[in-house]
Symmetry: C2
Subunit: 396 residues, 2 copies
DNA sequence: GACCATTAGTTAAGAGAAATTACTAAAGCC
DNA sequence: GGCTTTAGTAATTTCTCTTAACTAATGGTC
């Protein structure tokens, strides 16, 4: 797929340097413990080049040297790891139901987290509240000795592909919000670069960037909560987020599955969200907007009506997974969002539908793995932090 | 979206040079008649760099100098154009109904074309037949004074993303065919690099690469013929084809629109192809496999059954366009493939459906242009030739 | 018509990055 | 201890882009 990190106009030597630095960093990220020599063979760069870049990264606290490991004869190589002790990135998610904040180190470990279950109101008030929580979070003892690389904000709606502007968050009622500017007016003292992204994109990016082990060629993260969104990330050394012309890539909640079906808030009928989404389940099962959907349905799990609704919604979710796969063909599907907390009654039929229908395109099993994140409370926030790290690596 | 031209492992100076050369070439391609100075301001490169690259491109016959154009005072700039007279690329499409061949110059003009309406049989026999036709085509007088940059072959099925192997062409009955190897055994004398791609990808690439005027940020080409496929191309200077993990990106013909609907040859039920596709229309309207669908239906255009079928299929096509848009958000949609020859009875309802439903995601008109290619006989073949040119530009 | 301002394009020198080569460092093996 | 092997560094070379100076060509002005 495309590449996140292509020079807009043309390339100078600076770009080349940045490219190689990011490549080396990505190699260590994916294969912790490699030596300089390993990196050289792995990336195709020469020992000398790798050595130079590694020196810079060590000096800046992005890498640390580990133990020696001998391999038969010869001088043993010095293992290299991401240094998780010198920096941190802030990530936040402004969700329909509340705010989530995390601070991560370079390895993706969460150093501190915080959440508020109070639903956002206006953009301005939310920015003020978020600023307060961020200030609190930054007081965590574990962060004091570290350098901040920046702040990422995830929002539940499409974001302009070329500017940090939220275009529309239907479930918040926000339109064309330049949220970072509102935050800046709060005179926050947060160093580094700030960025804004859609929650599904951020979550997808985080799952890809901080993947345990060698990440797949690409992933699609399906975010099922109040609405249904999807983020796609791919790319070897520069994870790339597919955004589309207007930032609407992955707005699969409004793909039409039943022409003439139930009306959707987008104006059409029979959108995917009218079959499976938080707002639809609440409507169908009479759960109040301020109550927790998962708790309410857990209590009422034995009601036939609840069972049937969840099974039906689950099947629709599987249907969406299938169409997503046949359209984007990601190497891995990840299912997250608050709806995964509804558990087996929803997830099992979704996976069953997908498993039963995914083959056929090549007349052989495709076996695309589907990973379900049971608790994705901080997934998008952590992903926003990952985006900050990726940008910092380029600008280093 | 991602970027076609990212170094797999790491970047050397060679890569940088190639990057800038391609950028400059892309600038001339998109804005014929620019001077060196214009290119410099346009790309951000310096006059010196541009001058050097242009000299090389002139020497190799990729560019030609045109007239002077004065702009007020000062020395007038020398217009630069792609040189359409020194090279050519060969492109072929192995279609379900026959073979199509074109030779293009650097500007995308078709210098020679040829087609055979005889359906392909085995891969080996088809390679032999194609080789003969290619040899014929290369005898065209207009090609004699030119250098061949290579050969591109488009096939109706998914191709491995990292190797020139056709994985499956259901409508040809081919499985895992290394078609370029079969062609090589024909001892063809065609210089340059050879490549293989899916027909929708090739067509999409060609429409993007040889776009008249400044191309949109990205395009999705929906190919409606025997089956339904889709190709997506994006990227500024290095048009990138989205391929997915297994080369199945854009296999939207098998997205499920009606669970439990009519059976599809892929094994599932209710795939998009069961609602709109060449094979479905033939089945529905009793058109023999060896007859021309468009001619048969043109004759029978007044039958209510034909009208109803086409209207229904057209609406399904619009539905597909809509879901494609909401999933990929391309800046432009192009509708091609042999089914567009069925004309208004099919196309009008498709466009009407799309127009009526495309808005809503941002609460404002999205106005994604939809371009219909009435006769796309040589579109995929020309696109394959475009891919050859793009590769040659990188390897130059 | 000489001169100047302005823009286009080339040439030459300088800076930066990676490749090549040669070297030092540190281990195992004999 | 010496040899072999591999890791990492240092010096040199090569390549590319940039900077700056220069030449080229035009229009405008006195």
């Amino acid at each position: 797929m495309p590449n996140a990190f292509t020079p807009q106009a043309a390339g100078d030597l600076n770009y080349l340097k940045s490219l190689n630095r990011s490549t080396i960093l990505a190699t260590v990220r994916r294969h912790p413990g490699l030596s300089r020599a390993d990196i050289a063979t792995h990336t195709g760069l020469t020992k000398a080049t790798v050595g130079g870049v590694v020196q810079v990264l060590l000096a800046r606290g992005w890498l640390r040297e580990g133990e020696l490991h001998a391999r038969g004869g010869g001088r043993p190589g010095r293992a290299l790891y991401l240094d998780g002790s010198r920096h941190f990135m802030l990530g936040t998610e402004v969700g329909v139901k509340g705010l989530r904040l995390v601070a991560c180190n370079l390895q993706g470990d969460v150093l501190a987290q915080q959440q508020s279950e109070q639903a956002p109101t206006s953009p301005e008030a939310t920015a003020a509240r978020l600023a307060g929580m961020l200030t609190d979070l930054c007081r965590s003892p574990d962060l004091q000795s570290r350098t901040c690389l920046g702040l990422g904000v995830a929002l539940p709606g499409p974001v302009k592909p070329d500017a940090p502007v939220l275009r529309l968050a239907p479930n918040l009622g926000w339109v064309d919000v330049e949220f970072l500017d509102l935050l800046r007016q709060q005179s926050l003292e947060i160093a580094g670069s700030w960025l804004l992204d859609n929650e599904a994109n951020a979550a997808a990016f985080g799952e890809f960037y901080f993947f345990d082990g060698t990440p797949p060629e690409s992933i699609a993260y399906l975010c099922a909560s109040s609405g249904i969104g999807c983020g796609v990330v791919s790319g070897d050394n520069f994870p790339f987020i597919s955004r589309g012309a207007q930032g609407l890539f992955g707005e699969i909640g409004h793909t039409v599955l039943q022409p003439g079906g139930a009306p959707c808030h987008c104006g059409n009928r029979g959108c995917a969200e009218t079959l499976v989404s938080g707002w639809k389940l609440r409507e169908q099962l009479d759960v109040a907007a301020d109550a927790s959907l998962s708790e309410a349905l857990a209590r009422r799990g034995d009601e036939p009506r609840v069972k049937a609704s969840l099974a039906q919604a689950g099947e629709a979710l599987g249907w969406l997974l299938l169409n997503l796969h046949h359209t984007l063909n990601p190497a891995m599907l990840i299912l997250g969002g608050s709806l995964t907390r509804l558990g087996e009654p929803l997830i099992a039929p979704a996976l069953a539908y997908f498993e039963a229908h995914q083959n056929g395109l090549l007349r052989q099993p495709l076996s695309i793995p589907v990973k379900v994140i049971g608790d994705s409370t901080f997934t998008a926030a952590r992903g926003a932090a990952a985006e900050v790290m990726a940008r910092a690596a380029v600008e280093l």
